[in-house]
Amino acid sequence: MSFEQILFYVFSSFLVLSAGAVVTLRNPVHSALALVLAFFNSAALWMMLEAEFLAITLVLVYVGAVMVLFLFVVMMLDINIARMREGFAQLLPIGIVVAVLMFGVMYQVYNGDRFAPGDMPVPTPHAADYENTRELGLQLYTTYVFPFELAAVVLLLAIVAAIALTLRRREGTKYQAPEKQVVTRREDRVRLVKVPSEARK
């Protein structure tokens, strides 16, 4: 077994174990952390396929930002584990149906004419000066520039929609306007009042 194969089996076994831990661990925070480990291992697998840009972006975006916010929310919520387990027996049949369906779909995909293991050629290793990031950029900004821009617009729409849905203006809230504070002059705030002195009565 070559060194790369050993690495592959190490990373993929960690990936499977941590993915299993995501659904089996009782504490939701532990589950979220197991998901982080799963992302990390799949990034390592991508790295082994010479997809360095995707691998690092997976770590940067999902591990570095998305999962942090996930953890943030999971830690803040007071999740009652006993109540979550209540409906287990009731929901079990539905769960089994979903699992069987998903298994069937995946079985179909992997035995179809596109994704069967035999149809996937072993990727040829590139020379040391091959830059995955550069190649990806060239493809994205030349051949696929319109789909890429379209995806960007859809994402922008999602951002604007999320902000618009959660933004509410309340009456009577006080907030600072630093730009106004900065331009304030002495004359705006201080008024010198000349009070004539009076004789004591």
């Binding site: 532990h30 952390l33 840009f53 690092i56 940067l60 591990v63 942090v68 916010l69 943030f72």
Partner: protein, 358 residues
């Protein structure tokens, strides 16, 4: 140097020789780094001391001589190592112990791709800028896990503040780096330094001046240093995320924070100040002397300037209020970087940025 090592390691099998050389290189990078971390704490106490007209630590020395207190960091390290690690009741024991390691790991792993010279680098990977960005974004896990696992409200509040702050400033930081890689045409740190050669006016701190300032300030915010240290905020939440930590676990958090400071200083020097290039390069008289030669000393000197700035900020500025931190990150830095990215794009379209617009 490498040849000498190889000849010394002849007795090992071929594959182990490679491993041994890599391990030796790692030690050569990390050992000075840890010494630098130790003496950065000493420098911090001394410099802030002098800024506040105090003397700072001046008692612990070596062999009976006080030597301006130079033995202080070693005494501190020994003291922290032998103190008891107190695990609070109701804490998540496993995560409580793992959290300091999770903040230390990325802080050290990022050094794998930092170039110290044209050839002086542990791993010359293509996407080293992305790698550094990804690893620095992982440091936040140590903080939030520490805050949650401590089973303490103060620690948890500190962790939540830190998580929101780091995620916000990462965006501005990432945009600033996009400007650098656009100007350099590469995401390899070595090539970014090479793209700046020519003299101090071709360093990216000149054409990318706003991004330079934004990157460094975001770096201060990312490392949770004053004036952005609301995660620690001793006046409100005692010590924030590491309030329950003691002994070596506390020391590891400190090590990670200072290693991250040195990393940010080093990256700023590499990406905006020409790295190991000499400031005298291309000048009329000194341009031909030894002063104009690129050297590791220039890199360390430039990084030291930024480290001094870190300490200076801490001695000078009062702590930001939380909403003002968020305003600065989201409403000031991100729009500024986006505007400057457009400027950079336009200048590149016009064929500029080498020595600016020609």
């Amino acid at each position: 140097m490498i040849e000498l090592l190889q000849s010394l390691l002849q007795w090992l099998p071929e594959s182990l020789q490679v491993l041994a050389i890599i391990l030796i290189k790692i030690v050569v990078i990390l050992a000075p780094l840890l010494v630098a971390v130790a003496y950065l704490t000493y420098a911090e106490r001394k410099i802030i001391g002098y800024m506040q007209i105090r003397i700072g630590p001046n008692r612990v020395g070596f062999f009976g001589h006080s030597l301006w207190g130079l033995g202080q960091p070693i005494a501190d390290a020994v003291k922290l190592m032998f103190k008891e690690i107190v695990i609070p009741s109701g804490a998540d024991k496993f995560l409580f112990i793992v959290a300091p390691m999770l903040s230390m790991g990325p802080a050290l792993a990022a050094w794998a791709v930092i170039p110290f010279g044209d050839e002086l680098i542990l791993a010359d990977v293509n996407a080293s800028l992305l790698y550094v960005l990804a690893l620095t974004s992982l440091g936040v896990y140590g903080v939030i896990i520490a805050g949650w696992a401590s089973n303490s409200k103060y620690a948890f509040l500190g962790a939540m503040r830190s998580a929101a702050q780091i995620v916000s400033y990462e965006i501005a930081m990432g945009f600033a780096l996009v400007g650098v890689l656009m100007a350099a045409g590469s995401i390899n740190l070595g090539e970014i330094v090479q793209a700046q050669s020519g003299g101090f006016w071709t360093w990216f701190m000149v054409p990318l001046a706003p991004l330079f300032v934004i990157y460094f300030i975001s770096g201060v915010a990312e490392t949770n240093r004053a004036p952005f240290d609301v995660a620690e905020g001793e006046s409100e939440i005692v010590a924030g995320f590491h309030v329950e930590y003691s002994g070596i676990t506390f020391a590891v958090f400190f090590l990670a924070e200072y290693a991250n400071m040195i990393l940010v200083a080093m990256l700023t020097a590499l990406m905006f100040m020409g790295g190991w290039l000499s400031p005298f390069q291309g000048l009329p008289v000194v341009g031909d002397t030894f002063l104009a030669a690129p050297s590791l000393i220039w890199l360390l000197a430039k990084a030291s300037i930024f480290l001094f700035l870190f300490l200076w900020f801490r001695a000078t500025f009062p702590r930001y209020r939380y909403d003002q931190i968020m305003r600065l990150g989201w409403k000031v830095f991100i729009p500024l970087t986006i505007v400057w990215l457009m400027v950079v794009g336009a200048v590149i379209m016009a064929g500029g940025i080498g020595p600016w617009l020609h």
